[in-house]
C-alpha cells in the first residue's frame, strides 16, 4: 500500500507544484493521474521515489516512510520501484543490453558492476525481459538505433529488471503514435494484471486513462480535483479538470 500524506512541493523558484496532496493506492491498482500540462503530474510521481525532494508531507510505502529514509535505505526502496519516462531516458550510446542490465544495479555486486561484470543469471534475466517486450533481437544494438516504441520497451525491460512491486510511469506514451501507445500500455497492463504490480501512470489522453485505469486521479494546479472510477468522469467533470474550452480527443 502506498500512502501519500499532505505532499507539498515548492520548487526553488517559488513554483507551487503540489499543494497538500493526499491519497492512498491499494496494491494491484492501476492508478492513472491526469491533468493539464503543468498541473504537477511529473512532480507527484518523482516525489514518490524522491527524484524530486518533497518540501513537506510524507510518502509511506508498505509502512516505510520513504520521505524519511536515509540515502542507503532510499536505494533499497528505489530498487523495488520501477520507473518509465516519457523521453524513455535510455543511455543512447550504450547498447540495449547495457541499458536493460542497468535496471539491476541496485541488486548486483556494486564493484563488479562498475567493471560491467554481471552474473550469467542476470544476463539471462535481461534477455528474458527483452523477449517479454518483444525486442530480444536488438540486444546488441545501440539504444539510439531503435524507434521510439522500441526504446520505450527497452525502458520497460529495464524497469522489469528490478522485479518492481510498484511501477511509476510518467506519460510513458506521450511521444508515441496511437498504435504503439496501446502496445506499450498493454505491457504495463499485463504487469499489473498478471504479476500484481501496482501502477501509477500519468497520461495525457482521457480515453487512454479510461481504457487502462482502474482508478483516476486528476490534478489541477497541484491539487487533487478528482479521485474516482474512470466511468465517473462525465462532461461536467471533464470541464472541471481541463477547463471550459477543452474538447475531448480520443485515442482509440
Amino acid at each position: 500500500m502506498l500512502e501519500i500524506q499532505n505532499l507539498t512541493k515548492i520548487y526553488e523558484d517559488g513554483t507551487l507544484a503540489l499543494d497538500d496532496v493526499s491519497f492512498t493506492v491499494e496494491d494491484g491498482e492501476f492508478l492513472v493521474v491526469i491533468g493539464l500540462s503543468g498541473s504537477g503530474k511529473s512532480t507527484l510521481l518523482r516525489c514518490i521515489n524522491r527524484l524530486v525532494e518533497p518540501t513537506s508531507g510524507r510518502v509511506i510505502w508498505d509502512g516505510e516512510d520513504i520521505t524519511a529514509a536515509s540515502q542507503e535505505e532510499l536505494r533499497k526502496i528505489r530498487r523495488q520501484i520501477g520507473m518509465i519516462f516519457q523521453q524513455f531516458n535510455l543511455v543512447k550510446r550504450s547498447s540495449v543490453m547495457t541499458n536493460v542490465l542497468s535496471g539491476r544495479l541496485g541488486y548486483v555486486n556494486p564493484w563488479l558492476s562498475l567493471a560491467h561484470q554481471f552474473p550469467r543469471e542476470e544476463r539471462e534475466r535481461a534477455m528474458h525481459n527483452l523477449e517479454l517486450v518483444g525486442i530480444a533481437g536488438k540486444a546488441q544494438n545501440r539504444a539510439d538505433e531503435l524507434s521510439g516504441g522500441q526504446q520505450q520497451r527497452v525502458g520497460i525491460a529495464r524497469a522489469l529488471m528490478q522485479n518492481p512491486k510498484l511501477m511509476l510511469a510518467d506519460e510513458p506514451v506521450a511521444s508515441l503514435d496511437p498504435a504503439t501507445s496501446h502496445s506499450v500500455l498493454k505491457y504495463i497492463e499485463h504487469l499489473n494484471r498478471d504479476q500484481g504490480v501496482t501502477v501509477l501512470c500519468s497520461l495525457h489522453f482521457l480515453s487512454l486513462a479510461r481504457r487502462y485505469g482502474t482508478r483516476i486521479i486528476a490534478l489541477k494546479a497541484g491539487q487533487i480535483v478528482f479521485d474516482g472510477l474512470p466511468e465517473e468522469i462525465d462532461d461536467h467533470r471533464f470541464k472541471e479538470i481541463y477547463g471550459e474550452e477543452a474538447v475531448q480527443v480520443e485515442v482509440r
Binding site: 527524484l51 523495488q80 520507473m83 519516462f85 550510446r93 542497468s102 535496471g103 544495479l105 541496485g106
Partner: protein, 385 residues
C-alpha cells in the same frame, strides 16, 4: 529640421564614411609596405628556391670515386720531378700533365686515361704543404675513358713553391637507391613530432578532464562559490587559448632548454586550454534523463556515474582528444622553429643553411603527415560519436 536638411546630412554622413574608409585603406597600404612590382622583379630569385622545393632530395645512390694523381713543379727549378709511377696495374687510371713545371697562369694540359668511360669528373690542385685542394675545370671522359683538360696554373701553387699534386677525380652513382640524409632525418624527426604531440595531448588531456568539470555549468552548483569556480575556470581556458603557442614554446625553451621537452610543455598548456573548453561544453550537453533513470533503479553514486554519465562523455572526450592530437602535430612543427624539437627544428636549420631540396623533404613530410592525421582522426571521430 526640414526634408532637404535631412538628406544633406545623410549624404554628408555617407561621404564621411567613404572618406574614412579610403583613409584607412591608404594607411594600411602603407603600413603593409605593399609593392606588387617586387613580385615580378624578385621572381628570378625565387625561381630557384621554388624549383628546389618541388624537388625534394629523397634518395641517393652510393657514390663511387676514381682518382689518379700526378705532380707539377711551380716554379721550375731546373730539375723537374719525375712523377711517381702509378702503383696500380697498367689498366688503372692515370693522369699526366704537360709541361712538368710551370709558373703561375702558364697554360698546362692535363690528360688522363683508364678512367670510367663517359663519366664526369673534376680536376683538383693539391698545393704543396697544404691540406685542402683547389677545385678546377670539370671534364667528361670519352668512350675510352680518356680526357684532356686545358687550364692554367693557379698562382697559389707558385706561392707555395715546390712540387704540388694534380688530381683527376671522376664520380658516379652506382648501386641501389638509398634514402637520402634529409629523408632519414625527416622521418626520424617527424616520428618524434607525432609522439611529442601525443605526449602533450595525453598530459594536457589528463589535466583538462577534472578542470572541465569545474567549467561545466550543469555540474557546478549555482552557489556563489560554484559560480566563482566556474567563471575562473572558463576565464582561465579563454586566456590560455589566446596565448600563442610560439610564445609558450619560447618560454619553455629558455626554462628547460631547447628540444622536444620544451615543445611538450608548451603543447600541454595549449592542450589544457583547448581541451578544457571542448570537454566542458561536452559535459554541459549531457542529458539529465538517463542519469535520473539509473538513479531511480536504486544504483549507488558510482554506478550512476559509470552507467549514466561515462557513456555520455567518453565518446565526445575521445573524439576531441584525437582531434587535439592532430592539431598538436601541426602546432609542434611550428614551435620546433623556436626550439621546441621535432621536425620543425631541422626544417629551420635547413632553411637557414639554404638547403632548399632538404627543406623540401621536411615540408612535404609535414604536409603528408598532417593530412594523414586529419583524415584518420576524422574517420575515428565518425566511428565513435
Amino acid at each position: 529640421m526640414n526634408f532637404e536638411d535631412k538628406t544633406w546630412l545623410q549624404r554628408g554622413r555617407w561621404l564621411l564614411l567613404i572618406a574614412l574608409a579610403a583613409g584607412m585603406y591608404v594607411w594600411s597600404w602603407n603600413a603593409a609596405g605593399m609593392q606588387p612590382s617586387l613580385l615580378i622583379e624578385g621572381a628570378p630569385k625565387a625561381r630557384g628556391i621554388i624549383k628546389d622545393l618541388l624537388q625534394p632530395h629523397l634518395f641517393t645512390r652510393p657514390e663511387e670515386i676514381q682518382e689518379a694523381e700526378t705532380v707539377i713543379e711551380a716554379p721550375c727549378s731546373g730539375s723537374p720531378p719525375s712523377p711517381a709511377p702509378d702503383e696500380g696495374s697498367s689498366d688503372g687510371p692515370a693522369v699526366q700533365i704537360e709541361p712538368a713545371c710551370a709558373s703561375a697562369e702558364d697554360p698546362v694540359m692535363v690528360s688522363g686515361f683508364g678512367f670510367r668511360p663517359n663519366t664526369s669528373g673534376r680536376l683538383h690542385w693539391a698545393p704543396a704543404g697544404m691540406q685542402g685542394r683547389l677545385r678546377d675545370e670539370q671534364f667528361t671522359t670519352d668512350a675510352q675513358g680518356a680526357f684532356t683538360v686545358e687550364t692554367t696554373v693557379p698562382p697559389l701553387l707558385e706561392q707555395q713553391g715546390g712540387v704540388s699534386g694534380v688530381v683527376a677525380q671522376v664520380e658516379w652513382e652506382s648501386g641501389a637507391l638509398q634514402p637520402s640524409e634529409p629523408l632519414r632525418t625527416t622521418i626520424e624527426k617527424i616520428i618524434e613530432t607525432v609522439f611529442l604531440a601525443l605526449m602533450a595531448t595525453t598530459l594536457g588531456g589528463i589535466i583538462a578532464v577534472p578542470l572541465s568539470f569545474l567549467g561545466a555549468r550543469n555540474i557546478m552548483p549555482r552557489t556563489p562559490a560554484g559560480n566563482a569556480v566556474y567563471g575562473l575556470t572558463r576565464g582561465f581556458f579563454n586566456v590560455m587559448r589566446s596565448i600563442e603557442p610560439i610564445i609558450l614554446a619560447t618560454i619553455f625553451a629558455i626554462w628547460v632548454g631547447f628540444g622536444p621537452f620544451a615543445g611538450v610543455l608548451a603543447l600541454s598548456i595549449v592542450t589544457i586550454a583547448s581541451l578544457g573548453k571542448l570537454y566542458s561544453e561536452a559535459a554541459e550537453s549531457i542529458q539529465e534523463g538517463p542519469i535520473e533513470a539509473v538513479t531511480a533503479t536504486g544504483a549507488n553514486r558510482f554506478q550512476v556515474v559509470v552507467y549514466g554519465v561515462v557513456p555520455q562523455i567518453v565518446p565526445p572526450y575521445t573524439a576531441f582528444t584525437i582531434y587535439q592530437w592532430d592539431i598538436n602535430v601541426r602546432i609542434s612543427t611550428i614551435i620546433g622553429f623556436v626550439g621546441g624539437g621535432g621536425v620543425g627544428f631541422v626544417l629551420r636549420n635547413w632553411i637557414n643553411q639554404t638547403r632548399w631540396t632538404w627543406a623540401s623533404v621536411a615540408v612535404w613530410a609535414i604536409v603528408i603527415v598532417v593530412w594523414l592525421m586529419d583524415y584518420t582522426s576524422a574517420r575515428v571521430r565518425e566511428a565513435i560519436v
